[in-house]
Structures are given as structure tokens and as C-alpha cells.
Subunit: 359 residues, 2 copies
């Protein structure tokens, strides 16, 4: 009997509803596979702000660090939108990422055959898209210093941020990306803005060097971020694995996931050098539909599967969950976000029950 | 008889071919409308590097500054890709923008009814898209200081860039954007990353203030850049006018133009406080097809029309050119980039001749 400590962070909006489904599914699979989960639920984001006045309580981070893995749902909402920066839910998320040291964020964007019509792209463009975006998550302009506000010689206010990467930061994310590409189609596209930014010039130099020295078998290409954004719309199938910095990764992974037309289906993982990984859906907290039982829990369930596979090494349990999701889609069950003619509309709770039946 | 000094910058790749067509068209319209053009051709980008060793010769910038308007084709090519940064064609372009002070870059993305099938988006998503991206062009991380390379306490190399905006820089681009939105559907979406970046927080504060004080009639909304990139793919018709900083504008305007499926059709204008404007196609120098007579000259021709309309105030001449382009498309003539079944394939030169006939 294997046992794992997992910290659950339901967060805000639809977070608690979809987390409930994921927990039920994990427990069912655990019973079947002889896995015990020691779940601890903690507050983060808006929920933590409301209860404790901070977006990331010390106790939450401590629990995460003591766990084998962390499963997050979603954070944020209109309610805290006008809070000062240090009291925003997002600040809690950034603190959590930094606190866990999860520098490597993997965001898959797959167009599932059952859902190809949900894409706004033409069928022939969308069909077969399978991209993995490897995003550096705890560096770059998100955390770079100096940052802040000041007044210049002419008496005008100005604000500034620093985009910065060091060679060890670039090297370690490059290695994760090359390893990832090797397990996929063996093609890696590094995205930067080296025609304008010095930080991109160093990025390109290091990724090129790591590729040449350590991964000569992986086909490496480079693309400017504006062109990459465009190529994702023009011909997404040209991409296998993409590696890029924090800001460009934020933008490109959102485009990639939208291509699939089913952002409610996509999980993500964030890994550190040796500590627990952080697993979460790509979508947000959807405050507009929170509490209405309309949310799609599948990205959360697939994030749990990703946690089992990459965070806990429980590949079999992950596969069971993934095929339950697939067979549920095959049977035609859809939440509102993916609904189309001829399918059966279900709510969040019912989708959970159908998944449990399918297990 | 009106007379204008115009500096022509054919640049690299397909630049000279498409510029030739635009010049013929302008001259034909000029004869008809009693406009004389005093054209001066100058070197920029790779062409200037080859001839003079610098990407922006002083003489080129001086000629531009003495003109009523500047018409650029495209710069860059593989040939100069491994040059050091200060000897890259792009550095010439950035120097030209800064030297002319053209802070406001307007990039329209329109899905033409004749070309809706060229988009990779489904017809019902693409049809009717008409977006104007107003991009700040001479500030932000493109020009921010400090920038460069250094070594940190642990002996590791690092590189850094600064994203910076001051209130006057934000205010002047915001005003251009509000004015632009007012002449369109009256809706402006300001794009930033205010949940992470201080510079975006100041951006949002100032755009909001200018809107409230000076443009209460324009409907203002705000969107994070990752979401905006995603929404452009999900439902581009929700956008009328977008305003954003230099880096985000680079990315979003490329996505917008790709949505139209006809990047070979899209012009852009860049305006300063009071000096000559800079007009250029959105597409690049396409070195792979340079010299093969395959280039689409229409974006260059429409850039000339934009120059006539916004740079020289010759609205009638602009309209004549625009309707010649439209009727040429109606007649079914297409260059390779836009070719589809049932249309007539033509080269760059022949497209020019057909346009002259249509005038
Ligand atoms: C909420 C926000 C801070 C976050 C980010 O920008 O990283 C989100 O967009 C994401 O991609 O996870
Ligand atoms: C060539 C490059 C420097 C330029 C930019 O990034 O501004 C281009 O991408 C553009 O959008 O005009």
C-alpha cells in the first residue's frame, strides 16, 4: 500500500466544485490501485484573503512544502480586483510558485478528436494539434528587480520592471524542455525576441549551446515571439515542443490552449529541482459561473492524473483516470463550455458521477 | 498642383519589387489628381549594411526628416542574421522609428469579404473582423534602459532589459487610441499585464484617467495580455480598437493580422507628434521569394494609400487606390499567398499592371 501526502488548494470561484470531483475520482482510483492519499486542504488566493488577510498564508506554503505533491484549482475573482497589488489573489499564486521553486511549467495543448469542432480554427488546421509549451515560471520579468514607481528629471511619474535571466536559470529550463521534446517528437522550438532584447540574446545563446552539447538528437529551432504567436494561428501543427520565458510563455500557452477550443480540458504541471510539483488546470476561476454547477471539472481531473503520473510516479492510476475521461467524452457527455448538437449536457456534479461510473 | 517630398525606403528582400508597384500606382493617381511626388530613394536595413556598413545611414534619417512622409517596404534577411546586434537590419528600423519619433503605430486587421476563406479561422468566426491595434512604438522594453549583460555574485552571466513607461508616454498614445476608437465603433480595449507588472499598473491608471476626463463617450475596457491573445483566437469580433505597449503590441498585432489570413494585404502607419509619418506593410521582407516575382504588392500599395490619407491628407487619391485594389480582388486576381480554386494567379509585376488598368 503506497501513501502520499497531497495538499489541496481549491482556491476561488469554481475551484471548490471542480476540486471535489477530482478528489472523488482520486479516492476511487486509490481504492482500486491500493493507493492512500493523505489530503490536507489549505487556503490560497481570494479565499485566504477573506479568511486571513493574506493571499498566501505561511501555513499553506509550509503544508505544500511538506507534501509529495500539490493540487491547485484556480484563484482570483472580481471581488478582489481593486485590491492593492500585494493583496491580490494572483500575488498568492506567484508566491506559491516561487516558494515551491517550480521553475518548469508544462502546458500541453491537445486537440482531442472528440472535440475538434470546439476549436474556432478550421477542422483541417486544428485536427491533430499536439503542442507542449514549456514555460519558465519563477524568473524573467515576473520576478525581476528593480521594479516599481519613481519620478524622473522632468517631474513625471514612471513605472518600470526588469526582465532578467541568468545562465543557470536558462540552462535548467532548457534541459527540461529538451528532455520533454525527446519523449515527444524530438523537435524543440525556442521562442524569444532576440532581435530586440539582450535577455533574449543570452537565452538563444544558452539554449543553442545546451542543445549542441547535450541534446544533439533533438531538432532545435528558434522563433521570434511575434512570429510564433502568428504561426500558432496559421499552422499550429508545425510545433511539437516550445520552450520560452515566463512572460512569453504566459501568452503563448494561452493561445495554444485556446486553439484546442477546450480550455476546460487542459491540465498543467509545474516542477521544481527536487521538491513537490504543483498541478493545476490552465483555466481560471470563472467567478461568473461559480456555484451554479456549470463548471467543467475535466481539466481538474486531468490535473490530478498529471499529478499521479509526473508528481507521484503512479502511471497506472493516471492512465485509468485519463481513459475514464476519454470514454465519458466518447459517450457524448458534455458540460456547457463544450456542448454541441447531439451531445448530452451535464453539470459539474453529474459529470463527476459519470466519471466514477466509468472508472 | 500639390507637391510632396516622400522618402522611399525599399529595404531588403521583396522590398524593391513591391515598392516599384506602389510608386507606379502613386504616380498614376498623382497625374490624375494633380499631385506631384518628389521621391527620394534611400538605403536602410540590410541594403544599407551592404553598401555603407550601417543599418541606418545619417543621410537616410536626414532625408526622412525633411520629407512630408516616409514609405518603407521591408527590412531583414538570413544574410545578416548572425551579425552582432548593432549591425542588424532591425536595429536600423528601430533607429528610424526613434529618429522620426513615431510613437503611435496603427495596425488595422480587416478580414476582406473576398478573402474570408484565406483565414485559418472558421468562416463564422473570421467574417466581419475589423480590428485596429494602436501600438506604442518608441518606448517600453524595446528602448528601456538599463539593458545589457553582466555577471552576478555567484559568478554567473545574466542579461537584462527594462520595461518602462512614463505618464506623458502613456497619455499621448492613449489619446491617439481614444481618438481612433471614436472614429470607429467607439470601443477601446487597453491591454496590459497589471496583475504582475508595475509598469502595467501605471498604464492602466493613466488610460483610465484619460478616458474618464477626456473621452467619456468612448467605451473603455481592460484586458490582460494572455487573455487578449486568447480572445483574439476565440472571438475576434468582440474587438474594435486595441491600445497597448510596444512589446504586447508587437505580438497582438501579428496575431490580429494573421486572423485575416492575408498578411500580404495589410498596411500600417506610424505617426509622430508633428513630423513626417512612416508607412509600411505589416509583413516582412520574405527573402525566400525575393526576386522571383511572387510577392504580393498589395500591402505596399495600401500603405501608399494610408500615407496619402493620413500622412498627406490626400483622401481622394487614397480612395482611388483602395477601390482599385478592391476591384482587382473582385475580378479574381490573386498572388500565390492568397490563391484559391477558381481564381487567377498573377505575379507581382502583373498585379501592378492590373492595378494601373483598374485606376
Ligand atoms: C494569474 C496570473 C498571475 C498567471 C500568470 O500570469 O502566470 C496566469 O495568467 C497563468 O498563466 O497561470
Ligand atoms: C523587426 C522587428 C524589430 C519589429 C518589431 O519587433 O517591432 C517587427 O516585428 C515589427 O513588428 O515591426
Amino acid at each position: 500500500e503506497r501513501s502520499y501526502k497531497v495538499t489541496l488548494l481549491p482556491g476561488d470561484g469554481i475551484g471548490p466544485e471542480i476540486m471535489r470531483v477530482a478528489v472523488d475520482v482520486m479516492q476511487a482510483v486509490g481504492r482500486r490501485e491500493g493507493i492512500t492519499f493523505d489530503f490536507t486542504e489549505k487556503l490560497v488566493g481570494g479565499a485566504a484573503l477573506d479568511a486571513l488577510g493574506v493571499p498566501l498564508p505561511d501555513d499553506t506554503l509550509a503544508s505544500c512544502l511538506e507534501s509529495n505533491a500539490v493540487l491547485l484549482a484556480a484563484i482570483g475573482g472580481y471581488k478582489w480586483d481593486s485590491n492593492p497589488p500585494h493583496l491580490k489573489p494572483e500575488t498568492g499564486l506567484l508566491g506559491l510558485r516561487a516558494g515551491l521553486g517550480v521553475f518548469a511549467n508544462l502546458r500541453p495543448a491537445v486537440v482531442l478528436p472528440q472535440l475538434v469542432d470546439a476549436s474556432t480554427l478550421k477542422r483541417e488546421v486544428a485536427e491533430g494539434v499536439d503542442i507542449m509549451v514549456v514555460r519558465e515560471l519563477i524568473g524573467g520579468i515576473y520576478f525581476g528587480k528593480p521594479r516599481g514607481f519613481d519620478v524622473n528629471e522632468t517631474g513625471d511619474r514612471f513605472a518600470f520592471n526588469t526582465m532578467v535571466y541568468s545562465t543557470p536559470e536558462i540552462d535548467r529550463i532548457a534541459r527540461v524542455a529538451f528532455e520533454t521534446a525527446r519523449k515527444r517528437q524530438g523537435r524543440l522550438c525556442s521562442v524569444d525576441k532576440a532581435n530586440v532584447l539582450q535577455v533574449s540574446q543570452l537565452w538563444r545563446e544558452r539554449v543553442t549551446a545546451i542543445g549542441k552539447e547535450e541534446y544533439p538528437d533533438v531538432e532545435l529551432s528558434h522563433m521570434y515571439v511575434d512570429n510564433a504567436a502568428m504561426q500558432l494561428v496559421r499552422n499550429p501543427k508545425q510545433f511539437d515542443t516550445i520552450v520560452t520565458g515566463n512572460l512569453f510563455g504566459d501568452i503563448l500557452s494561452d493561445i495554444s490552449s485556446m486553439l484546442s477550443g477546450s480550455i476546460g480540458m487542459l491540465p498543467s504541471s509545474s516542477m521544481s529541482e527536487s521538491g513537490p510539483g504543483l498541478f493545476e488546470p490552465i483555466h481560471g476561476s470563472a467567478p461568473d459561473i461559480a456555484g451554479t454547477d456549470k463548471a467543467n471539472p475535466l481539466a481538474q481531473v486531468l490535473s490530478a492524473a498529471m499529478m499521479l503520473r509526473y508528481g507521484l510516479g503512479e502511471v497506472k492510476a493516471a492512465e485509468i483516470i485519463e481513459s475514464a475521461v476519454s470514454s465519458t467524452l466518447d459517450k457524448g457527455y458534455r458540460t456547457g463550455d463544450l456542448m454541441s448538437a447531439g451531445k448530452t449536457l451535464v453539470g459539474c456534479t453529474q459529470m463527476g458521477e459519470i466519471l466514477l461510473d466509468a472508472l
